[in-house]
């Protein structure tokens, strides 16, 4: 087991290193084969810039700012998405009232709401959080609603014949039972949240990883652009991994979790 795991980790590391190596070859040799690598920075330029930025307080501030925005928007979307999804899945009245409205808003990309957000909210900060919220809200809502509808009625019947009322069914059956489905929505939601927070920061805002990356581009600081992008990639990866881990812990009871394979 351990030897197999070591081999898998070696493979994973090798894959990343190979991609980095290819980048280095293409940029160092200033390759121009229809795609033009001559103006992109080499690995050592990027590394130098990364080291320089890591030492500045601005970098940490940007990071923190983006994280606060995404966690606020995503957190609110988790609560609102689950509540609305359960209500839509369980109540025909709620469906009649809310569904047409939500279905009409859903196709609008969250990033297209930036003008509205700028007009609507007193500060840019709130606007960006709003955009992040909208982005994550719909995947969470849709997956919750489907999970509610896919719940076997047997569990509900069981709790009801044990004396359970509506709230008991909600608390003891619906909420735990939909978790596997909800976490699918949370994963997707986290991904689109990052897309939207970075895009929104590029358009408005005075801090944040997205803002800093775009600023680097306008200042012709190409290593800075790449450092920004790598930062976004790592943050997105980290937060998705946290969601994934939480999901696995919360759904240990699923039959497939028995083998422990990923």
């Amino acid at each position: 087991m351990t030897r197999r795991m070591t081999r898998r980790w070696v493979l994973r590391a090798a894959s990343v290193l190979a991609a980095a190596g290819l980048w280095q070859v293409l940029t160092a040799a200033d390759v121009r084969l229809w795609l033009r690598f001559d103006r992109l920075p080499t690995l050592d330029e990027i590394a130098g810039e990364a080291v320089r930025q890591l030492a500045t307080p601005v970098f940490a501030l940007d990071l923190l700012q983006s994280l606060i925005r995404i966690l606020t928007g995503f957190g609110l979307a988790t609560i609102a998405g689950i509540v609305a999804g359960v209500a839509l899945g369980r109540s025909a009245r709620t469906r009649d009232v809310l569904l047409p409205l939500l279905e009409a808003v859903r196709p609008i990309p969250a990033i297209a709401l930036v003008p509205v957000a700028i007009l609507l909210f007193p500060t840019d900060e709130q606007g960006i959080v709003f955009i992040t919220f909208v982005a994550a809200f719909f995947p969470i809502l849709v997956s919750t609603r489907h999970a509610v509808r896919a719940l076997p009625t047997l569990w509900e019947d069981a709790v009801r014949t044990l004396g359970g009322r509506r709230l008991h069914v909600l608390w003891h059956v619906v909420l735990p039972g939909i978790l596997p489905g909800v976490f699918g929505g949370l994963s997707v939601g986290m991904g689109v949240s990052w897309i939207c927070v970075i895009s929104a920061e590029m358009i408005s805002g005075e801090f944040g990883v997205g803002y800093r990356t775009w600023q680097a581009y306008t200042l012709v600081d190409y290593p800075g652009v790449i450092v920004g992008m790598v930062t976004i990639g790592l943050l997105g990866w980290l937060t998705s991994a946290v969601v994934e881990l939480a999901g696995r812990r919360a759904t240990r009871w699923l039959p497939r979790a028995q083998g422990g394979m990923s």
Binding site: R160, L162, G163
Partner: protein
């Protein structure tokens, strides 16, 4: 821990009596059961047998209050049944346990719903775990248990809050013959201490004769016949068996 367990365990509550008056049941427009009249005596074990599709489970769901009648009424101790109640606990064929709750927490659930304190309900659940022979499995999840063990948990969960009626829907139907025989013995054992009325659905006539005080045969949209099993010895059992099979 010492004084609390017996409060739930003893306190024998009287069984619930059911009266079915002109009861018709079905899903949508199709009626599975038509205008059935039947009395279920408090404290008895009534086994309902019938071919698949004869409406055994449907009838049980109506007794539980899970299925509103298409016509007629179900009465429990004279009061019309309009919904589910903790007085009428149900045991399902399989997968009735909540898969995210451990054995202990599944069995505690009805007490939790009744707002019984944590210590008291844990004590009562542990007592039942022992009675159904599940010592050491308290913290296991349903997926880690065999089919027979899962049914033991369901049985304990149904009885832990001392319901006045237990409705069992082919609870041993998915088990192998040996496990099934064990579970039948366990059920007889456990029921000896309660006064709850039991309505038990099966398609196995031998199981019916083993467990029942009375056997009701379902077929042709209604109750074909009701047989009294009590007080019959070994020989008449065979006779009764033939009679029931003939009705089926």
């Amino acid at each position: 821990m010492t004084a609390v367990a017996p409060t739930v365990r003893t306190a024998p509550v009287a069984g619930l009596g059911f009266t079915l008056e002109g009861l018709s049941l079905g899903y949508g427009r199709e009626l599975v059961v038509r205008e059935v009249d039947l009395r279920i005596v408090p404290g008895e074990v009534l086994v309902v047998v019938g071919a698949s599709g004869s409406g055994k489970s449907t009838l049980l769901r109506a007794l539980a209050g899970l299925l509103p009648p298409a016509g007629g009424v179900v009465r429990a101790d004279g009061a019309e049944v309009t919904g589910t109640s903790a007085e009428r606990a149900m045991v399902f064929q399989d997968d009735g346990l909540l898969p995210w709750r451990s054995v202990l927490r599944n069995i505690e659930l009805p007490l939790r719903i009744r707002k019984v304190g944590r210590r008291e309900r844990t004590a009562a659940a542990r007592d039942w775990i022992q009675r159904v022979g599940l010592d050491g499995a308290e913290d296991k999840l349903p997926r880690e248990l065999s089919g027979g063990m899962r049914q033991r948990v369901q049985l304990a969960r149904a009885l832990v809050a001392a319901p006045r009626a237990v409705l069992m829907d082919e609870p041993f139907g998915a088990l192998d013959a040996q496990t099934r025989a064990q579970m039948q013995r366990l059920l007889l054992d456990v029921l000896r201490d309660t006064q709850a009325t039991v309505v038990f659905v099966t398609h196995d006539v031998d199981e019916a004769l083993l467990l029942a005080d009375r056997v009701a045969v379902l077929g042709g949209h209604g109750v074909r016949a009701v047989f009294d099993v009590r007080g019959t010895g070994e020989h008449p059992h065979a006779e009764l068996r033939d009679k029931i099979l003939k009705e089926l």
